[in-house]
Amino acid sequence: MTEQISGQAVGGEQFLTFTIGAEEYGIEILKVQEIKGYSAITPIPNAPHYVRGVINLRGTIVPVVDLRARFGMSEEAYTKFTVIIVVNLGRRVVGLVVDAVSDVLNVGEQDVEPPPPLGVGVDTGFMTGLAKMGERLVLLLNIEQVANLEESVLQTA
C-alpha cells in the first residue's frame, strides 16, 4: 500500500472538493471552468440515465452528468445546495451535478495514495488516488474518465 504507482497518483496541486452524500471528492482545479447553481436541464432522449440532459451555458450547449447516477449511488432530490460544476477538458465542456461544493485543498504529493483495491463491486477507474488530509479522506477523480461521454464508452458503461 505504501508503493507509489507512477502516473496514477497525483500530488502537489490544488483540488476543488465537493460532497456527494457523506463522501468527499476532489477535481484538479485547473480543469474547473466555473460553478453554477442548479438550473433547468433539458433532457436528451435515449441518453444514458446519468446524462441528465443539456444546459445553455452562455450560448454553448453543455451536457450535464449527475455524479450520483454516474457512480451508481442512490439518487436524491436536488436541493438549494445542489450545484453544477462545469469542467473544461480542452475539447469538451461538461457539467457535473454534485450535492455541494466544499472548498479548495492544497494536496501535497506525500498526502496522496493510489486507489486501494476495493473488490469487484467498486470501479476504481474513476479515481486517480486518495488524499488523506488529517481526518479527511478525499477521493481524487479521474475527471476525463468520469466526463467521457463518447459513444463507445456510453454503450459499455
Binding site: 433547468a40 433539458t42 433532457p43 436528451i44 432522449p45 435515449n46 441518453a47 444514458p48 440515465h49 446524462v51 440532459g53 443539456v54 444546459i55 445553455n56 450560448g59 454553448t60 450547449i61 453543455v62 451536457p63 469538451r92 465542456v93 461538461v94 461521454l149 463518447e150 459513444e151 456510453l154 454503450q155 459499455t156 458503461a157
Partner: protein, 659 residues
C-alpha cells in the same frame, strides 16, 4: 507605406485569380461558340488588367508574359486569327502558365515550367500572321529588363491628335510618373510658317530618355489611347546602372490562407441602412420606456414590433453575405472537362445550369472535390469512347450536365451523363466478392447502385473495369455528409447516370415550429412540415399489433409517438386528444404525435455533437427566449426511425436508456 503596398498586392492576387478564371472560362466558351466580340473583349480585358496591375507591382515576369498573350488575343479580337482548337489549346496553356506565374509571385515559389516555350510559341504566332496582314504593329516585346531600365522614346503625334481630345503634355507627364525623364528634345522641324499654321493641328514631336522600373509594355501603356494617332518608337537602352532595389516588391511573403469574402457594396450598404434603422428603433423604445405610463403601451408594442421586423431583416441580410453562387465551383469545370475528355479520348459536351444558385460559403468551399470526383467518374467511366457510342446508336459526342437548383430547403446539385450507366449485376458480383452482400440477399437496382458509395467498394482498382464506377465515391459521400447533405444515384444501364448531391441551404439558422410533448419543447424545421391535424379515432390503425398507422385523407402514414420514442412521461398518449404533425422529407412522410403546437419562429442551430454526441432523430439544439435549451428534430431521421420495426426500435431505446 510598405504596408499599403502589401495590402494592394493582396488585392491584386485576389483579383488576378478572378481574372484568370474569366480568361479560362472565356477561352473555353470561345472555342465552343466561335465567340462574339463581347466575349473576346472580356478575355482581353482580364489579361490586360493582370498585365497592367502586375506592371505596377513590379511583377515583371507576369507583365512580360501577359504582353505576348495579350497581343495574340488582340489579333483574335480583330478577327485576324481564328480560335481553332490548336490556338485555344495554346491559349489555355498560356493561361495556365500565367496562373503559375501569379502563384509563384504570390507564394514565392519557382515559376512554372514552359514559360519560355509558350512565350516563344505565342510570339511565333504573332510574327507569322503579323507579317502577312500587317496593319497591327507587331510589338516586339522587350522581354527586357525592368528595374532601372532606360528607354529612348520618340513620340511623334499625328496632326489630328488634338481633335481627338488628347494632350501630348499629359502623356509626357504620365511618363514622368513612371520614372525619371532626361534628355528631352523638342522636334520643331515640322512647324510651318505662322501664316500656314493650323492652330488645331499638332506639329511637334519629342524625343526623351526615360529611366524607369517599369517594363516596356507599361511604358507603351501610357500611349494606349493615341497609339493609332502617332508614331511611337521605344528603344530599350543598354543598362547603365545596376538594378534598382525595390524592397517592398522583392520581399516574398506567403500570405496566410485567410478566409475572406468579397461582398458586393450594395449588400454592405443595405446592412448599414438596416443597422441604422435598428438604432433608431432602439432609441424609440428607450424613449418610450423613460417615463413609461400604461397609456403608451400601444406605442411600445409598435416600436418593439418594428424592431423585431428590423432584426429579422438584418439577420436575413447578414446570412446572405455568406451566400455565394455555385458558379464559384462550376466555373472550373469547362476547362477540366475539356482536358479530361481529351485525356480519356472522349468527346464531351458540357452543359451548365443554374450557376446562380446560392449556397453558404462554407458549403461551397467543400463542394469542389466531391463534384470533381463525380465529373471525373462520369467522363472516365460513364461516357463511352466515340466509336462505342456510335456502335450503340448514340451520338458520338457525350453529354455531361452540371445543374444546381433549389428544392425545398435544400440545394440540389446534379451531375448527369448519358454514358453507359451502372450495371447492377456487375455491382452485385463485386459486392458479393467484397462481402458487402450476402448471396441470398435480394436487392433492388437502387439498393445495388447505392452500394458503390459503400466504403471498401472503392478500394479495388478492378472496380473501374467492373462497374465502371466507384473511384473514391465513398469519399464523396463522406464529404457531402459532413455538410449535412446526401448523395443519391439514379442510373439506367446503357442510358446514363445522375448523381444527385442534396445540401442544406445554410447551416446556421432554421425556420421552425415549436411544439410541446409532456413538459418538453421541441423544434421542427418548418420546411419538413406538411400539415397538422387532430386525428379521429377511426384514422388510427395498428399493424400486427405493433406498428401504428395514421390515415391522412386515406393515405396511410407511420405514426411516431414522440413521447414513446423519446421516453417522455406525462405526455398526451391518446392521439385523438393530441395533434399529429405530418413531416415530409426526401419522399418519405411520417406522422408524429405531439401534445400541442407552440408557435413559429427562427432558431439558431447549435451543435449537440460538439459537446455531447449525435442523438438519433435530433439534428441539433437551440436556445429558447427564456434561456432554456430545446432540441431540434431531424425529420428524415424520424421518418427512418419510424420505418424500423417496433422491436428494433425498442432495442435501440433500451440500449440507450438503461445501459
Amino acid at each position: 507605406m510598405r504596408i499599403d503596398v502589401t495590402r494592394f498586392r493582396t488585392a491584386f492576387f485576389e483579383e488576378a485569380v478572378e481574372h484568370l478564371a474569366t480568361i479560362e472560362r472565356g477561352l473555353i466558351e470561345l472555342e465552343r461558340s466561335g465567340g462574339d466580340a463581347e466575349l473576346m473583349n472580356e478575355i482581353f480585358r482580364s489579361v490586360h488588367s493582370i498585365k497592367g496591375a502586375s506592371g505596377s507591382f513590379g511583377l515583371n515576369d507576369i507583365a512580360e508574359f501577359t504582353h505576348g498573350f495579350e497581343s495574340v488575343l488582340d489579333r483574335l479580337r480583330q478577327g485576324q486569327m481564328r480560335p481553332d482548337r490548336a490556338l485555344t489549346t495554346l491559349l489555355l496553356r498560356a493561361a495556365d502558365i500565367l496562373s503559375g506565374l501569379v502563384r509563384a509571385a504570390q507564394g514565392g515559389g519557382a515559376p512554372p515550367a514552359g514559360v519560355g516555350e509558350v512565350r516563344t510559341e505565342l510570339e511565333s504566332l504573332l510574327s507569322g500572321s503579323g507579317g502577312a496582314k500587317g496593319p497591327v504593329p507587331v510589338r516586339e516585346d522587350g522581354g527586357h529588363r525592368k528595374e532601372g531600365s532606360r528607354f529612348r522614346i520618340s513620340f511623334r503625334p499625328g496632326r489630328d491628335l488634338f481633335r481627338s481630345g488628347m494632350d501630348p503634355l499629359l502623356l509626357l507627364r504620365d511618363l514622368e510618373n513612371l520614372g525619371t525623364i532626361s534628355d528631352v528634345e523638342l522636334d520643331r522641324s515640322e512647324l510651318p510658317a505662322l501664316a500656314l499654321l493650323d492652330a488645331e493641328a499638332c506639329y511637334l514631336a519629342w524625343q526623351l530618355t526615360l529611366v524607369t522600373d517599369q517594363t516596356e509594355s507599361a511604358v507603351r501603356e501610357v500611349f494606349t489611347f493615341v497609339e493609332d494617332a502617332c508614331r511611337l518608337e521605344i528603344v530599350a537602352l543598354p543598362d547603365q546602372a545596376g538594378p534598382v532595389d525595390l524592397p517592398a516588391q522583392v520581399e516574398r511573403r506567403t500570405p496566410a490562407a485567410e478566409s475572406s469574402i468579397r461582398v458586393a457594396t450594395e449588400k454592405v450598404d443595405e446592412l448599414i441602412n438596416l443597422v441604422g434603422e435598428l438604432v433608431i428603433a432602439q432609441a424609440m423604445v428607450s424613449e418610450i420606456i423613460d417615463g413609461f405610463s400604461l397609456k403608451r403601451l400601444g406605442d411600445l408594442r409598435a416600436a418593439i414590433a418594428a424592431m423585431a421586423r428590423n432584426t429579422q431583416e438584418l439577420q436575413a441580410r447578414v446570412l446572405s453575405v455568406r451566400m455565394l453562387p455555385v458558379a464559384m465551383v462550376f466555373n472550373r469545370f469547362p476547362r477540366l472537362v475539356r482536358d479530361l475528355a481529351e485525356h480519356c479520348g472522349r468527346v464531351v459536351r458540357l452543359e451548365v445550369l443554374g450557376e446562380d444558385t446560392e449556397l453558404d460559403k462554407g458549403v461551397i468551399e467543400k463542394l469542389g472535390d466531391p463534384i470533381l470526383h463525380l465529373v471525373r467518374n462520369a467522363i472516365d467511366h460513364g461516357i463511352e469512347a466515340p466509336e462505342e457510342r456510335l456502335a450503340r446508336g448514340k451520338p458520338a459526342e457525350g453529354r455531361l450536365r452540371l445543374a444546381a437548383y433549389h428544392e425545398g430547403g435544400n440545394v440540389v446539385i446534379e451531375v448527369t451523363d448519358d454514358g453507359r450507366g451502372l450495371d447492377p449485376q456487375k455491382i452485385r458480383a463485386k459486392a458479393l466478392e467484397r462481402g458487402l452482400v450476402k448471396p441470398d440477399e435480394t436487392l433492388t437496382d437502387d439498393q445495388l447502385h447505392a452500394l458503390i458509395m459503400a466504403p471498401g467498394f472503392s478500394t479495388a482498382t478492378a472496380v473501374t473495369d467492373v462497374s465502371g464506377r466507384g473511384v473514391g465515391l465513398d469519399v464523396v459521400r463522406q464529404n457531402v455528409e459532413s455538410l449535412n447533405g446526401s448523395v443519391g444515384i439514379e442510373s439506367r444501364s446503357g442510358e446514363g447516370s445522375t448523381m444527385r448531391i442534396r445540401l442544406p441551404l445554410t447551416l446556421a439558422i432554421v425556420d421552425g415550429l415549436a411544439l410541446r410533448v409532456g413538459g418538453q419543447t421541441f423544434i421542427v424545421p418548418l420546411l419538413a412540415i406538411r400539415e397538422s391535424f387532430r386525428p379521429r379515432p377511426a384514422d388510427l390503425k395498428s399493424v400486427f399489433g405493433q406498428g401504428e398507422i395514421v390515415l391522412v385523407r386515406g393515405e396511410p402514414l407511420p405514426l411516431v409517438r414522440l413521447h414513446r420514442q423519446f421516453g417522455i412521461g406525462e405526455a398526451v398518449t391518446d392521439p385523438a386528444s393530441g395533434l399529429v404533425l405530418v413531416l415530409s422529407s426526401e419522399g418519405t412522410s411520417v406522422g408524429i404525435l405531439v401534445d400541442e403546437l407552440l408557435g413559429q419562429s427562427q432558431f439558431v442551430v447549435k451543435s449537440l455533437e460538439q459537446q455531447y454526441r449525435r442523438v438519433d432523430g435530433v439534428m441539433g439544439a437551440t436556445i429558447l427566449g427564456d434561456g432554456r435549451v430545446a432540441l431540434i428534430l431531424d425529420a428524415p431521421e424520424l421518418a427512418r426511425l419510424a420505418l424500423l420495426r417496433e422491436p428494433e426500435r425498442d432495442a435501440l431505446c433500451v440500449s440507450g436508456e438503461r445501459a
